[in-house]
């Protein structure tokens, strides 16, 4: 979260952390960072953020989710823990920890054509992947073995990896374009 905030700060954005409905009500866009999706789910429901956030996403709130953030935006999980829910926003199915344990976590260069020809240096940490994407979901990037690791649908973008850890700004810039367009 700190690295997302630092990156957005460099892009001249005011950043606050959202832990309750009041904080949610004053934002123009939301970044859902990495972490443990089971914990984000639990705490967001416990403190009454989950419902209003789902509604805000349906109403067009621009959202960028990375790693656990992608999981929280998925319509469906193939292997959530018992009772685990998501906010929705992306009509996709996501598999958690798709690469295995931490010793399988890795960094690599990814082609993301919508961001131009310079590859994205991506850090995957116990990362999820998208195993199904609906027809109206745009696939932004795939690994060499074609597994989907970045998707977009309307104002919602979900990434398996952490662009903020390598100082990659282009996803955040794309997210901010959505925010500005919506503000008009």
């Amino acid at each position: 979260m700190r690295e997302h905030a630092a990156l957005l700060g460099e892009l001249n954005v005011d950043v606050l952390s959202v832990r309750n409905e009041r904080e949610l009500s004053i934002i123009d866009g939301l970044v859902i960072p990495g972490g443990e999706s089971s914990v984000i789910d639990k705490l967001s429901r416990l403190f009454g953020v989950a419902e209003p956030l789902s509604a805000a996403i349906r109403a067009g709130l621009p959202v960028l989710g990375t790693c656990a953030g992608l999981i929280m935006l998925a319509r469906e999980l193939s292997d959530g823990i018992s009772g685990q829910r998501t906010f929705g926003g992306l009509d996709v199915t996501v598999q958690r920890n798709a690469f295995g344990s931490q010793t399988e976590s890795f960094e690599t260069d990814l082609d993301v054509p919508v961001l131009g020809s310079t590859p994205v240096h991506a850090v995957f940490i116990r990362a999820p992947i998208v195993t199904r994407a609906a027809a109206d979901v745009t696939v932004l990037s795939q690994l060499d073995d074609r597994r989907i690791v970045a998707v977009e649908q309307g104002n919602v973008m979900g990434l398996s990896f952490h662009p903020e850890m390598s100082g990659e700004r282009r996803f955040h810039e794309r997210f901010l374009e959505r925010v500005r367009t919506r503000l008009g």
Binding site: G34, G35, V39, Q102, E107
Partner: protein
């Protein structure tokens, strides 16, 4: 790596430290059975520490404490979806090799177990799996980072339920960091000598005002208020060992400590979380522990 390489790289500093970044703001709980691991995950733990005996029992039963049985660690890994950590003895690099082979997500080179080497810690750069290590002060933290630790936890005094040592250690680390930021460059050489830490790390901290890795607190945390105090003192997250499963109502206490850690700066949430938890672990005052039984004095 070069910009054009498409080779996947595992075990890099960024990948190792990155997982700890993802645990920030969370609670890591000691568990000794798959059932406890399930309770911890359901309560909102960001990770579990798999071990054979919680520190309070190691303290009570005595004897040599070693790495846990591989079967137990595997059973815990298969029970939960959150990261699983496990402890190796200080300096016992083969125990660490086994934990890596078992696919644990983090190895804790821990003073809670009996040290295997009273001179050297594990050379943690040799591993793909990341390590967390204990520290009582900044110099110790930097020596561990220099050996490749990707996460630090202040030691506290494990298995006591007495938070005073945890307070002492997190305060020592954070105040020594603040002191470094006030020094001029030419004073940093002596500071490095006094901290018994590598100059490059000392210089980096003087400039950034923070450790280059995530800093959790451990050792004696038993209540939601204990956890919130550690967060207010500057910890990035909290390890809770005996405090949960040695208490009267583990599931409820675990959930309460998670809430208090998330809302560490909101006394009304912490108050609500503290209600009706039943008995906390009985505990031992650190002052009553004879010196050879102080685990925080292991490691250097």
């Amino acid at each position: 790596m070069t910009e054009t390489s498409t080779q996947n790289q595992v075990g890099t500093g960024r990948v190792k430290r990155g997982l700890a970044e993802m645990l920030k703001g969370g609670v890591i709980m000691d568990v000794v059975t798959p059932e406890q691991a399930r309770i911890a995950e359901d309560a909102g733990a960001v990770a579990v520490m798999a071990l054979e005996r919680v520190p309070a029992d190691i303290r009570a039963q005595g004897g040599v404490a070693r790495m846990s049985d591989p079967d137990l660690i595997e059973a815990i890994i298969s029970e939960v979806s959150i990261p699983v950590m496990a402890k190796a003895r200080i300096g016992h690099f083969v125990e660490a090799q086994l934990l890596e082979a078992l696919d644990v997500d983090y190895v804790d080179e821990s003073e809670v177990l009996s040290p295997a080497d009273y001179v050297n810690h594990i050379d943690k750069w040799n591993f793909t799996v990341p390590f967390v290590c204990g520290a009582t002060n900044l110099g110790e933290a930097l020596r561990r980072i220099n050996e490749g630790a990707a996460m630090i936890r202040s030691k506290g005094e494990a298995g006591t339920g007495d938070v005073s040592e945890a307070t002492k250690h997190i305060r020592a680390i954070t105040s020594e960091i603040r002191a470094l930021t006030a020094l001029s460059k030419d004073e940093l050489y002596v500071a490095a000598k006094e901290l018994q830490a590598p100059f490059a790390l000392v210089e980096e901290i003087a400039e950034t005002g923070k450790l280059p890795v995530v800093l959790f607190t451990a050792g004696g945390v038993a209540t939601p208020a204990d956890a919130a105090m550690m967060m207010q003192l500057g910890a990035d997250g909290v390890f809770v060992g005996s405090g949960i499963f040695k208490s009267g109502n583990p599931a409820q206490r675990a959930a309460a400590i998670v809430k208090a850690t998330t809302f560490y700066d909101d006394p009304s949430v912490i108050t609500e979380a503290s209600r009706g938890l039943g008995e906390a672990m009985v505990g031992i005052n650190v002052g009553d522990l004879p010196a050879p039984h102080r685990l925080s004095e292991r490691g250097w």
